[in-house]
């Protein structure tokens, strides 16, 4: 059941269960390679630079950013939406594909979830710093305070956003961590060094793999999988209402929630692709993340790219169809042509046109091409947010308040810092955490073998 011959084998090389754990755990047990230290130094350097930018923001104020009265949201919200979008890969991969019974997800979901946690942490920094006085961020909690008690505005999308992001971070982090317990136990039981045994032993929370534990673990995955599937749709829908609820030209449309959700899954899948191609190259995980896995992700990207293209065209069509001179101006004079045409066309070509190259099997099977296209999509998705935010804000209803916007180096440094944070997180993940869900992969390994009896073949 649910086992399709079309997809081919899930793991190459006829591996025994022991080999699976050994090969996936080899980066943890092996000596740390030199490139890892160099990459970590680079990532920490970027993180440090970002830390300095944050220090300037905090000590001197938001005046260090290029924001102005008209463009009150700039790179901060662009990068926030971008990172949150990337952070959708974890839930999309683990939970959507879990519900759809896609077994090939087992090789990729751990990396996607790890990426999600770091990306959401990076994203959360932007609204926090944009508050201006981040040390008062707790004002946004609805807690009984001495100011009345004055509650927050529960009708504000910004408050929804705060709830959505913090819930998403907590849920994806705990889903990720509890999914790792069996693998930590495997490290504890296979490691030779005493320190590793002790550290991973603590992290494994006393997991032994008994039937009682597995029974409840399955129940837990079932509950969390079912309930967190809502998050894939809800988080970015809420982010989109930050824009769609305001009466701003180019933002005030009903297409925004689905458009944002699809865009988020698109950029998340692209970033997963970037990451797993790197994992294959750097750690030789080709037997687990096979060409067929990459192929499957690429096919999903073709489909999402088509939806993205449709969404872009729909926006333009609706602007024309509405007959609103402001909407017409925004799309035809300001986005398609005009000052921000470059950003628009970068977005359109990288998201709707270039991914269509994945129709060709030759492109899907060449890893460097897959890698390059995945990076192009990431860049394109960044420009999508730039296109939405800056074009609308810098040219609003009153020409007297039109202002150009360009970021200062502090904003750029802050963004570089979050990339450094992401890279640091990913490198630590490569080094210290099994980058593929070992126990899940073992549970699907049997589907590659010829089945002895019909009964087992039918048993999911």
């Amino acid at each position: 059941m649910y086992n399709s011959a079309v997809r081919g084998r899930l793991i190459d090389g006829n591996k025994s269960l022991g080999q699976i754990s050994e090969e996936i755990l080899s980066p943890i047990h092996a000596k740390t390679p030199v490139w890892w230290y160099l990459a970590l130094m680079g990532a920490l350097g970027m993180l440090g630079f970002g830390g300095y930018a944050i220090f300037l923001t905090l000590s001197k104020g938001l005046g260090t950013w290029g924001l102005n009265n008209s463009v009150a949201w700039g790179w901060d919200i662009i990068n926030f939406v971008w990172w949150i979008g990337i952070g959708h890969a974890g839930t999309a991969f683990s939970i959507f594909l879990l519900i759809l019974r896609q077994k090939w997800r087992t090789a990729i979901n751990r990396a996607a979830e790890a990426m999600t946690v770091v990306a959401v942490m990076a994203a959360a920094l932007f609204p926090l710093l944009h508050m201006g006085r981040p040390w008062l961020f707790f004002y946004i909690f609805p807690y009984p305070n001495t100011r009345g008690p004055l509650w927050v505005n529960f009708n504000s999308p910004l408050f929804w956003d705060f709830v959505a992001i913090s819930a998403y971070l907590l849920i994806s982090a705990s889903f990720w961590y509890f999914g790792m317990l069996p693998d930590f136990a495997t490290i504890r039981d296979t490691a030779k060094s005493k320190i590793k045994k002790a550290v991973y032993g603590i992290m494994a929370f006393g997991w032994t793999g008994s039937s009682r534990e597995w029974l409840r673990f399955e129940g837990l995955s079932f509950v969390l999988g079912g309930i967190a599937a809502v998050l894939v749709v809800s988080v970015h829908s809420i982010v989109s209402t930050d824009f769609a609820v305001s009466v701003e030209v180019g933002w005030h449309t009903t297409i925004f929630p689905p458009y944002f959700v699809v865009g988020a899954i698109f950029s998340g899948f692209a970033m997963v692709l970037t990451l797993v191609v790197m994992m294959r190259k750097l750690y030789n995980m080709n037997d687990f993340i096979t060409n067929r896995h990459i192929d499957a992700v690429c096919r999903v990207l073709i489909f999402i790219s088509l939806i993205m293209g449709t969404a872009y065209l729909t926006e333009i069509f609706v602007a024309w169809y509405s007959g609103s001179p402001y909407e017409m101006y925004m799309f035809f004079k300001n986005r398609l042509t005009g000052e921000y045409a470059l950003e628009f066309w970068t977005m359109f070509i990288s998201n709707a046109v270039i991914p269509q190259l994945f129709w060709f099997k030759k492109v899907r099977s060449k890893m460097w091409m897959v890698f390059v296209i995945s990076i192009i999509i990431n860049i394109g998705m960044w420009f999508e947010r730039y296109n939405i935010i800056v074009t609308s804000l810098s040219r609003d209803y009153l020409p007297s308040s039109w202002t150009p916007y360009s970021p200062t180096w502090v904003e750029v440094g802050f963004f570089a810092g979050t990339i450094g944070l992401f890279l640091t997180g990913v490198l630590l993940f490569f080094r210290f955490i099994p980058m593929i869900a070992i126990s899940e992969l073992k549970s699907v390994a049997k589907f590659d073998k010829p089945q002895k009896s019909v009964k087992h073949a039918n048993h999911e």
């Binding site: 495997t186 929370f205 793999g209 309930i227």
Partner: protein, 165 residues
């Protein structure tokens, strides 16, 4: 190796399941079975049931009611604020926060329930019968007291499919 228990160690899922079913036919329920990944025949055969999804349902029900009540109370009774003359009880827009916060409550409470019921928590010292049970061995642990006179036949079943340790 162990005085009170017999350890049947198997190399793959099928041998374990076959041996497990034969042992059960003898009327003996193994003390516990340790596997590297969940094996559904074992989970069903061991006779335990989990009510974690029922618990999750009630967590969800109560937190949804609680959160919605709180939002309504805070916005209409505790401190009604006039946002452009809109009604203070703006039920539709409370739904957003209610859904997300309910999901968060369900997740956290279910995790705590799992932690308490499966006894998986930080600092727990695991009781390891066989060190490869989390790697590549399927281990069936049988209490010698439950064997009675069947000890030899059970040993024979295990050795037919795997090894006795």
């Amino acid at each position: 190796m162990n005085k009170d228990y017999i350890l049947g160690v198997f190399k793959d899922e099928e041998s374990l399941v076959e041996a497990f079913e034969k042992v059960k036919q003898k009327g003996i329920l193994p003390f516990e079975v340790y596997t590297p990944y969940p094996v559904h025949e074992i989970l069903e055969g061991m006779g335990n049931k989990t009510r974690i999804s029922h618990a999750a349902f009630f967590f969800g029900l109560f937190s949804a009611i609680g959160i919605l009540t709180f939002l309504t109370w805070a916005a209409t009774i505790s401190w009604p604020i006039n946002y452009g003359g809109k009604p203070t009880n703006s039920f539709p827009s409370f739904i957003v926060v209610t859904i997300v916060a309910t999901i968060l409550s369900i997740t956290l409470l279910t995790l705590f329930t799992f932690s308490a019921r499966a006894k998986i928590f930080p600092g727990k010292v695991p009781e390891i019968f066989h060190s490869r049970a989390t790697d590549d061995r399927f281990v069936m642990v049988i209490d010698k007291k439950s064997l009675g006179e069947n000890e030899e036949s059970v040993n024979a079943i295990i050795t037919a499919h795997g090894e006795v340790e």
